[in-house]
């Protein structure tokens, strides 16, 4: 039963207190439900702006990788390249423009390194026999050739056309995805973008 020994002022204060508490809980409940809804909406909007086939595009975080080079000497990981710009190139021995751009990249590799930008070329799931024969044929490369033997990195980046080069900045974000053969002007532009 209600306490009757309170004076009107006390009762009013108690009622006000109760009302405040009620308002607080009402606000909490409404905020929580609306917040949950907003999170779901944002997630779907985010998904809609991303590519349906899982292709990595400009603005996405570059997926991590850990790949061994052609000679089985060293493992290269995404983390190792963080803090510096990275041009991540995907290529195959069966791709003509890939073959054409490789000497140009090789000639510029020193300059790139000096400018603080790394370059790595991921081969898309070919056999070491084939790749080493091909590399011998073009006279070797200064930059690392990474072997994606089970195509998992190729899958993670959603590669469809070759060659393709991802310009990744210091924070590990993809700045641009460039499909096609790289020429001198494009390469210099890429180095600039990766360094921004």
């Amino acid at each position: 039963m209600k306490k009757t020994n309170q004076n009107p002022d006390e009762r009013l204060a108690a009622a006000k207190q109760k009302k405040k508490k009620r308002s607080f809980w009402r606000l909490m409940i409404m905020t929580m439900v609306l917040f949950a809804g907003a999170v779901v909406i944002m997630q779907f909007v985010d998904q809609a702006t991303r590519d349906k086939d899982g292709r990595v595009l400009a603005g996405d975080d570059a997926p991590g990788f850990a790949l061994v080079d052609l000679y089985g000497e060293k493992q290269h990981t995404m983390d190792e390249y963080k803090g510096k710009g990275l041009l991540l190139n995907f290529w195959g021995t069966f791709c003509e423009p890939c073959k054409k751009e490789m000497p140009l990249i090789n000639d510029n590799y020193d300059m790139m390194q000096k400018a603080g930008v790394n370059f790595a070329a991921v081969n898309v799931g070919e056999t070491p026999v084939r790749v080493s024969s091909f590399i011998k044929e073009i006279g070797g490369t200064e930059y690392p050739i990474l072997m994606d033997t089970n195509s998992s990195v190729e899958k993670a980046y959603g590669i469809y056309n070759l060659p393709v080069t991802f310009i990744i900045n210091k924070e590990g974000k993809v700045v641009e995805k460039y499909e096609g053969e790289i020429d001198q002007a494009k390469l210099e532009e890429m180095i600039k973008k990766a360094n921004e």
């Binding site: 009620r22 308002s23 009402r26 606000l27 409940i29 409404m30 439900v33 609306l34 949950a36 809804g37 907003a38 999170v39 779901v40 909406i41 997630q43 779907f44 909007v45 998904q47 809609a48 850990a66 061994v68 089985g72 493992q75 195959g92 021995t93 069966f94 898309v124 799931g125 070919e126 056999t127 070491p128 026999v129 084939r130 080493s132 024969s133 033997t149 089970n150 998992s152 899958k155 993670a156």
Partner: protein, 514 residues
């Protein structure tokens, strides 16, 4: 005697003061009041139903042909209506911001309505008095009045008790009540709904829901991306069985023939699951076998929270290995045989008696471009090999290019590579699924059904009897199935000599229509 007419009471919430009906001041309370209206909830449900209906007029985005971009498809196929459909987001309705927004508002409405009604109702039912006022009893839908004594009320008590009523007495008056829990049905129902929608929303939480299609060749071990590459799956064998038109019933054999004779009867994959336990020195994952099993259509292979379903298979098997005999062309004697794994060829193959074969190049999809041998892709469709055979007679090696029906530069050599067979491997397409939201959907659905049953089949029934100055006042309440209450109570009333319950609402309606 003039019977006093009372206005019928709305008993849905036992006349309890609903919180939202109080005077409001702040915007918080005003918003709360808005959503506490059942009318608003019904409007939201109506809008959701209409939107969902419109969403089925044209196909959703995931069902349209992939070749045409959706922004062009709807306009081209359905004209202006299609363009509008796309512009308003109906093409991807169930993930559109305003559809999810409507669902969210409905959820909010359900929660607020429940809180607003449940607590006052609970309190009112918890402390109901046995003796009710004449206004209250007269305002019930069922009731009757007659002269009588308290003895009659005493006599009816055991009769009602037998029917399962709980009896409370006070100063001769009686309150019989049963199945009060039936009143909680709608609220339990709402809890189920909130759980169900909440579970559906949980899908977006990373790790709650995974879905991946993995193409895996026989003999191949691949990381499962859906498990963050923590688990690897090996395809030990893929089996496929076709219907044989000759052996089947005549009814089907013609249809089978028409289909080209290659209708699969069953296909399944024998697989082994490995867990990655670390990396080895040569940067290969160290794998530990977890279990093996098989997956057939509709019979998943399960591990942890994951299920692996057999979904597809590649129509054409792929070359897996090729074997060659190293022959002395003059004597025709076979020196040795090598087997080349096309996915992982070795660079050198040591043979007996100091012979050795070096694989200089491997072209999985052989073509000649600009007069030079090269490969068209990385798939072993038309494999060709550049071999060097080192023999005691030719320590530097004899070179030749070998492929399918192809032998370049090998004719003058003393030793040649002779084709000695091939192994094929099938490619199995398995779908890896994980859905931790299912228990929520299941529990939500069950609770919803439970609440529905409670509300539908267990009506809350009450009977009040009170005696004042030789007059007996009877009132009855039920929230469902009026006839059931009358049948149950009238029997007892007649037995103790009291009049039967009248349906005042019916009487009033009949009076109005006359």
């Amino acid at each position: 005697m003039m019977q006093q007419e009372y206005k019928q009471l709305d008993m849905r919430y036992e006349e309890a003061e609903l919180r939202s009906k109080r005077k409001n001041q702040s915007w918080i309370d005003r918003t709360w009041t808005f959503f506490s209206s059942v009318k608003v909830g019904l409007w939201l449900i109506g809008l959701i139903i209409i939107a969902s209906g419109v969403g089925t007029i044209f196909p959703q985005e995931m069902y349209i042909p992939q070749a045409i971009p959706p922004e062009e498809f709807y306009g081209k196929e359905y004209g202006t209506a299609g363009d509008m459909y796309y512009a308003l987001g109906f093409h991807n309705l169930f993930e559109s911001w305003w559809y999810i927004g409507l669902i969210t508002l409905l959820l909010l409405s359900i929660i607020i309505v429940s809180i607003d009604r449940f607590f006052p109702l609970y309190r009112a039912l918890k402390k109901q008095p046995v003796i009710q006022s004449d206004r209250f009893m007269g305002g019930q839908r069922f009731g009757a009045e007659a002269t009588g004594t308290v003895n009659q009320i005493d006599a009816i008590e055991p009769l009602l008790k037998k029917k399962g009523y709980k009896i409370r007495r006070q100063d001769g008056a009686l309150l019989a009540e049963k199945q009060r829990f039936g009143r909680w049905g709608p609220y339990i129902n709402h809890i189920g709904l909130v759980l169900f929608f909440g579970g559906a929303m949980l899908r977006i939480v990373p790790g709650m829901h995974e879905d991946e299609l993995l193409w895996i060749r026989e003999g191949e071990t691949l990381p499962i991306e859906a498990t963050d590459n923590e688990y690897y799956l090996e395809n030990n064998a893929f089996n496929i069985e076709f219907y044989d038109p000759a052996k089947e019933d005549e009814k089907f054999s013609e249809a089978l023939k028409r289909a080209g004779g290659s209708v699969p009867k069953n296909y399944d994959t024998q697989m082994t699951l490995y867990e990655k336990v670390g990396m080895s020195d040569d940067f290969k994952p160290k794998l530990e076998k977890v279990k093996s099993g098989e997956t057939a259509v509709n019979q998943p292979f399960e591990f942890g929270n994951y299920q692996v379903f057999q979904e597809q298979y590649a129509a054409d098997p792929e070359f897996k290995t090729m074997s060659f005999n190293i022959e002395n062309q003059k004597t025709g004697k076979v020196v040795d045989t090598i087997k080349v794994d096309l996915r992982n060829p070795q660079e050198t193959y040591p043979l007996k008696d100091g012979y050795e074969v070096e694989l200089k190049d491997f072209l999985p999809d052989f073509v000649v471009k600009d007069g030079k041998p090269t490969t068209n892709s990385s798939r072993p469709v038309n494999p060709a090999f550049v071999f060097t055979i080192k023999s005691p007679e030719h320590p530097k090696g004899e070179r030749s290019l070998i492929g399918i029906k192809l032998n370049v530069g090998g004719d003058e050599n003393q030793y040649k590579m002779g084709f000695a067979g091939t192994e094929l491997s099938n490619i199995s397409g398995v779908r890896i699924k994980k859905d931790l939201t299912l228990p929520f959907l299941f529990a939500g659905g069950m609770i919803f059904m439970f609440g529905l049953l409670l509300g539908m089949y267990w009506p809350h029934r009450r009977v009040w009897l009170k005696e004042t100055n030789g007059q007996i006042n009877i009132a009855g309440f039920t929230n469902k199935n009026a006839l059931g209450l009358q049948k149950e109570v009238n029997l007892a009333l007649t037995e103790v000599g009291l009049p039967q319950l009248e349906d005042r609402q019916k009487l009033r309606e009949e009076g109005e229509s006359k």
